[in-house]
């Protein structure tokens, strides 16, 4: 073998199988996104979010629910947050005009529970602001995709650009699909996670593509399918090691970083796994389909 590599997986033979799996995941994600939608948090939908700590360990969640029900605030969800003492309350209604809204809730709740409760965090977002945040978030993700598309097109060829973007969209759609399916909340930090996933997935794909380009220049007689397979193998240990260290860091955030970063780190973990998978099983096979060859590369060089 001219490539001198110890590992020699034949990824090629799995492409069909994995394409099918990817396709199923994508269709499933789109379906759940259309059917369930996304659970938009206060940042994007407007409303009030209150993180409550009760000093008394034995506060029953139903007591808090009843108290809120008696306040007639419309749709209110109460759930445990991190541990037994902490609760997260989401109120859909926002009373923008009333600057004593929060303090009156605090007083009533303290009265009902018979002890002073600690409002650790309050986030109140008006409809105008949440609309803008949603618009900015979508714009950021779209811009990131466009920028990636452009960068790869400049550095490589349009075929590479197309394949890489397909892989990124695959990653983002599946990540969002999982969030939709489990109805996990989408807030500002999830947008940050999605953008980082876009960057990471691209990073992972680019390393393989870089090797494919290099090998295409070197070996003009070998068909693209073999070149990409060998290139994937050559970069495989790097792919695995980098994903591992990134996941180690992310799992550490997920386990020890506190309740606020849970959603963010979960999205990132999911994105890194899907992103690593897609570089090998989505981006590379698509590149094969485009029939890119050494001529397309060398033409550019001249």
């Amino acid at each position: 073998m001219i490539f001198n590599v110890s590992k020699n997986f034949n990824f090629y033979q799995y492409y069909k199988k994995f394409s099918l799996i990817s396709l199923i995941f994508i269709i499933f994600s789109i379906f759940t996104l259309l059917y369930n939608g996304l659970n938009l948090g206060v940042d994007f939908k407007g409303g009030t979010l209150i993180e409550i700590r009760t000093e008394d360990r034995n506060v029953d969640i139903s007591k808090i629910r009843t108290s809120f029900l008696n306040m007639n605030l419309g749709d209110v969800t109460v759930k445990n947050f991190g541990n037994k003492k902490d609760f997260l309350v989401k109120i859909e209604m926002i009373d923008a005009e009333n600057e004593t809204f929060i303090s009156s809730i605090h007083d009533k709740l303290s009265l009902d529970l018979g002890a002073d409760v600690n409002f650790r965090r309050v986030e109140k977002v008006g409809p105008k602001v949440s609309g803008e945040l949603l618009k900015d978030g979508l714009l950021a993700i779209t811009l990131a995709l466009a920028a990636m598309l452009f960068y790869i097109w400049i550095r490589f060829e349009w075929q590479f650009s197309l394949a890489a973007i397909a892989a990124i969209i695959h990653d983002v759609v599946i990540t969002m699909g999982v969030f939709s399916f489990f109805s996990y909340e989408i807030n500002l930090s999830i947008v940050a996670a999605v953008l980082t996933i876009v960057g990471y997935s691209m990073n992972d794909t680019v390393v393989i593509f870089d090797r494919i380009r290099e090998n295409l220049k070197k070996y003009s007689k070998i068909p693209i399918s073999e070149i990409s397979n060998n290139s994937t193998n050559e970069t495989l240990s790097r792919t695995i090691i980098t994903s591992t260290t990134t996941l180690l860091a992310l799992v550490s955030i997920y386990l020890f970083g506190g309740a606020i970063l849970k959603g963010f780190s979960f999205a990132m973990i999911l994105g890194v796994i899907v992103g690593t998978y897609s570089s090998i099983f989505v981006a590379t096979p698509i590149l094969n389909y485009t029939n890119v060859n050494s001529k397309t590369i060398l033409k550019e060089e001249i």
Binding site: T100, G126, A140, S189, V206, G258
Partner: protein, 517 residues
Amino acid sequence: MLYFSKLKLVTLYFIIAVFSLFALLNFINNDNTFLLSKKVNLGLDLQGGSYLLLEVDSSPVIKEKIQNKLLLLRKILKENKIKYKKLKINKNYINFIIQEKDVENFNNSFNKKDYAFNPFYVQYNANEMEYSIKDNLVKINYTKYGLIEIKKTTLEQSLEIVRRRIDETGTKDPTIVRSGNDRILIELPGLDDPNRVKKLLGKTANLTFRLVSNTEDSFGAEMLPFEDDSETLSINKRVILRGDSLDNATPSFDNQNNTAIVNFSLDRIGAKKFARVTNENLGRRLAIVLDNKIISAPVIRDAILGGAGQISGNFTFQSATDLALLLRSGALPAPLTIIEERTVGPDLGEDSIKAGTISLLIGFLLVIIYMFFKYKIMGLIANIALITNLILLIGILTILEATLTLPGIAGIILTVGMAVDANVLIFERIKEEMKIEKTNIHAFDMGYKKAQSAILDANITTLISSVILFFLGSGPVKGFAVTLGIGIITTLFTAYFLARHLSSLYVMRNKESKIKI
């Protein structure tokens, strides 16, 4: 790739030393010492505090201004002997009908440049007002730039008043800045209960002194409620004095009946007017009205000549203090609405710092241990680069006096995970080259050379993401973009200069022996 000139090496380690020094500043208490008092700022989510976004509603200002324009217009039409009919305000337009023969006359007078009614803004190259005439129906309204100018002044005035009010509460290090055309962004670090500030900002604080009307339904009066909604009174529309005539206002205590009051003193002109009006209206009631609610309406027993008086109402000492504060800082030109509020208590902030630090340490250790087991000595080099990377990152954040948020800490941890990638790419490449190249030195050299383009491409993609997030993200998320973006730059630096130098030292010592990666 393995050769470093002396100058390069000195520069490399000098840079690392300088940044380490800056990073160190965060751990030394030197609030009042010499030049280097830079520190990474903690975001509101870590130190606790309140973030408020206020929107200025300038429509009442526009309404008031157009009313003034109407008065001015009447005068001008009269001066120019233009006859008009049905002059009235319709939404934000002034409508009226003129005769055909006056159209030209009107055109001429309206388009004069030095025209008090319609000033010309040089900076926009446009007038304040514009008009159209159709079938002798004249329609006058503000131009786009006229409206912008009103909004701008309204915002600037509001900003000033908000600043005064917050300063008076004694809040430490508040940030009060304009945001866009009609918004004010306020950050109040360390404030876990923004209630008082919210209450103070929620009031326009439009104070007027007006006489209580003698008759129930007279033309120039309106019915206004008392502050506690106990009763309503008919109050003259004519204003005797406004809040801006006040020189000072202080809370005080009335010893006679043990209630809190607000003492005020008037400026010279205000005092004169007040003396005259009180003298002329002995025995009548004088209402003190704040934001269209009556605070009190005492009977005038004596003429108040000294320009000093007191307001009594159903005050607690706190509400008297707040009213005095509002009166001192002046009235807002337009009402403010809080459209976004984020408050984090100091205990949650502390918990977040703890959780962030612990997860950073654990993530860091995991990566370091993994790299050591994977690459042994080269792993050690990568780890030294990683630690330096972290120090440089903190150093740069310190120099920029950047704000560190909880997502920002997550960005640092993520940088730790992704930073080793550059070295992994190089080491794996060296491994491959060792199979082809005859000498270690050549293998290392080629490894660094060939990994370059992949490293650059891979890091630029992440950099693109963080730049976009920096410009479009808001609040704490911006902190994530900052640490991630700077982390990429320090990663490239440490991998390509520090780790390369260390591995060159290593390979020079082991030219002949077998190197295992």
